[in-house]
């Protein structure tokens, strides 16, 4: 066993404005270990990470107890800048990862803060560029990067100070399958170099075979599994390690004959070429494809946010679009008001509020709901709206497995009266909801098939292909 990197003794934290937090946690983490930190939403994973990188108590307010030692030094006596020389952090939200808006500026930003000379910065930048293959990514706006590229820059910039410990907060939430697998390989390399990596995530297929220990959180308490094997035997959705051998029944649903949307020979710039497909009521279609394949552009075309250069999209009105980030989509003054903005039908509103467990929150402002509640409110809005096409953009990114299963059930419920279209890279979720798969590759439809026992190998093939592409 290597050097002791982090030690926590009886660590506890209670937020100033909520019940959540962590209680009496003790552990030791050693050099070269890869730790998976997991548990359901709200279990305290993020809180623990924030305690480790110092954002608790520096930025987040609350009551902190117990001790953390980083490389033998008491955290209490360390300033943020001292702590973060040892511990690098990669945040979950791609938007909040960056302080600047230019990739090179972001990479040198920590070095500037620590007063490095221009020569030292150049040398370090050169090394980071080689280590993380950033050649084509330097001096670009962070907004024009794909999510995989962005993750790479975020990772490199959090290791500029040669940190020995790296924290990841849900890195797979915004990555497609190929990029997540690539991240897994990088973590394996870091481990081989003797780095300590702590990954907090709900999905862990990309870490299969690399994890040393699993820290499982439940209502603020920590349980430690001594090995990956031991965790796999615990029964906690551990089948998610091997996503291609999931035992999920096929839906065998052909949809109705009522066609509600048809896309005919649609092309847009050099992003999409000759796209053709129809959607029928009662059917759930999942659009898959690597980042940058044109999935979002296709969604924008269906929503008439942009016009096709060529071809036609036939549909009554526009689809109901459920965005990934609900904060952009909620405009009401209360949960009840939000639903009346969709349709003034008191009876249905009451029924849906009860169905989604939101009735007691009906007077609450939508922004005061939790992430899961906001998403349920969005789905309630979709049920109420009477639109024929409902479009979801990555509805399960950042959801734990049980929440993902709940969303799947709601989408299936929703598809009884509408055609639902889901953009997703979450394999497990796709297996639960999809009646049909449309695979976008380089701007064209490469595959379009019904998901059943015979065609499962096609879906698996697509995922393997996406993995090969990023290698």
């Amino acid at each position: 066993m290597g050097q002791k990197m982090i030690e926590a003794s009886e660590l506890g934290f209670t937020y100033a404005d909520s019940e959540e937090g962590i209680r009496e946690i003790s552990f030791e983490i050693y050099e070269g270990e890869v730790i998976l930190l997991t548990g359901n939403s709200g279990c305290g994973k993020s809180t623990l990470l924030k305690c480790l990188n110092g954002l608790i108590p520096e930025v987040t307010e609350g009551e902190l107890n117990g001790h953390i030692y980083v490389l033998g030094k008491d955290r209490e006596g360390m300033k943020m800048h001292e702590l973060n020389r040892e511990i690098g952090s990669v945040f979950q939200n791609p938007r909040s990862q960056f302080f600047t808006d230019n990739t090179t500026a972001e990479l040198v930003f920590p070095m500037e803060n620590y007063g490095y000379s221009k020569e030292e910065m150049d040398r370090h930048l050169q090394k980071l560029t080689e280590d993380f293959s950033l050649q084509g990514l330097l001096d670009r706006s962070v907004y024009e990067l794909s999510s995989g590229e962005r993750q790479m820059v975020a990772l490199a910039s959090s290791l500029t100070m040669d940190q020995k410990v790296l924290l990841f907060d849900e890195p797979s939430a915004n990555l497609d399958y190929g990029n997540a697998m690539k991240l897994g390989c990088l973590i394996r390399e870091m481990k081989q170099k003797g780095m300590t990596v702590i990954v907090s995530d709900h999905r862990f297929y990309y870490l299969n075979g690399i994890i040393d220990r699993v820290f499982f959180m439940e209502s603020g308490h920590l349980r430690i599994y001594g090995s990956e094997e031991q965790f796999k035997q615990s029964g906690y959705h551990s089948r998610s390690f091997d996503i291609f051998h999931l035992d999920v029944p096929f839906r065998e649903n052909a949809g109705s004959d009522e066609e509600v949307l048809s896309v005919e020979d649609v092309s847009y710039k050099n992003i999409l070429k000759d796209i053709n497909f129809n959607l029928r009521k009662g059917e759930t279609t999942v659009i898959v494809g690597a980042n940058g394949a044109g999935k979002t552009t296709l969604a924008k075309l269906m929503c008439r946010s942009i016009k096709p250069d060529h071809g036609k999209i036939r549909m009554k009105g526009i689809p109901f679009f459920i965005m990934q980030d609900p904060d952009y989509q909620l405009f009401g003054t209360s949960v009840h008001n939000e639903l009346t903005l969709v349709k003034k039908d008191e009876e249905s509103i009451k029924r849906y509020l009860e169905h989604f467990g939101l009735y007691e929150y009906r007077h609450t402002h939508p922004f005061d709901l939790s992430g899961g509640q906001k998403q349920r409110l969005q789905i309630a809005m979709a049920m109420l709206c009477d639109k024929e096409v409902i479009l979801f953009d990555e509805p399960t990114s950042g959801l734990d497995v049980s929440s993902m299963l709940k969303v799947s059930a709601e989408i299936i419920h929703l598809s009884r009266n509408a055609a639902t279209v889901v953009i997703s890279h979450d394999y497990e979720f796709i297996r639960h909801v999809a009646d049909r798969i449309v695979y976008l590759k380089n701007g064209s439809i490469a595959e379009d098939f019904r998901l059943n026992k015979e065609n499962l190998s096609l879906l698996n093939g697509i995922f393997h292909e996406m993995q090969e592409e990023v290698k």
Partner: protein, 224 residues
């Protein structure tokens, strides 16, 4: 002439000074001087398209001002006058935001030997403006998808739909940006270095000299 280099400190200084000068010098004289100066700076830095847009906007604002005066609406005319007078400063601010990254602004502000906390706050505020415009477009689009139109018939409700999400985003963003800076050593006590060369060049001195001469000219013109 995108290659023309200008130290952001020059722009920051002028942007702080210009509005305060209206206290000492009559706006009728100061304003044209500032407008010509800022317009010339835009051209010098290669923002030709923006120059034309600003020229048109400026003319429209002036037109509105005189139009209101002509119609006897003094109060509204005053509103347009204030807007026209601050217009040159908007031009400068737009260069500051679009030309320099937050890292460059941070280094420039550091050179002024201001306290670090003030420097960080100013940088975050300046960089929030482009973020705001991105979020603005996003929310507008999302309102269209929800079928909540921005209508004149219900101005207050429309405005509320628009502003509430922005405010919530603003609070969340402030916290995220702070966290992103904190984990990257923004609080380090050592003197911050800069990857981007920010030397004071002869061109910077010339720009400041022209500005000073212009202001002095406006002051003399006002006294005559």
């Amino acid at each position: 002439m995108k290659s023309f280099k200008l130290n952001p400190i020059v722009l920051i200084l002028i942007n702080i000074l210009a509005p305060s000068l209206y206290i000492f010098i009559n706006g009728t004289y100061l304003q044209p001087v500032l407008a010509v100066f800022c317009g010339a700076l835009l051209l010098l830095l290669g923002y030709y398209r923006r120059f034309v847009i600003y020229l048109i906007l400026y003319a429209v604002l002036y037109g509105l001002y005189y139009g209101c005066l002509y119609l006897g609406m003094q109060f509204i005319a005053l509103f347009f006058l204030v807007f026209t007078q601050s217009f040159p400063c908007f031009m400068l601010a737009s260069i500051l935001i679009s030309r320099y990254s937050s890292a460059q602004l941070l280094s420039a502000l550091e050179d002024l030997h201001l306290p670090r906390i003030l420097v960080v706050a100013a940088t975050i505020t300046l960089k929030y403006i482009p973020t705001f415009s991105r979020e603005f477009r996003y929310i507008k689009e999302s309102m269209r998808l929800r079928g909540i139109a921005f209508t004149i018939r219900k101005p207050i409700a429309s405005f509320r739909y628009f502003v509430a999400p922005q405010l919530f985003r603003c609070a969340a963003l402030a916290e995220e940006v702070t966290a992103a800076g904190m984990v990257k050593g923004i609080d380090a006590p050592m003197r911050r270095s800069s990857y981007y060369e920010q030397r004071f060049r002869i061109t910077d001195v010339l720009v400041i000299m022209v500005f000073t001469l212009g202001v002095a000219g406006a002051a003399i013109w006002a006294r005559r």
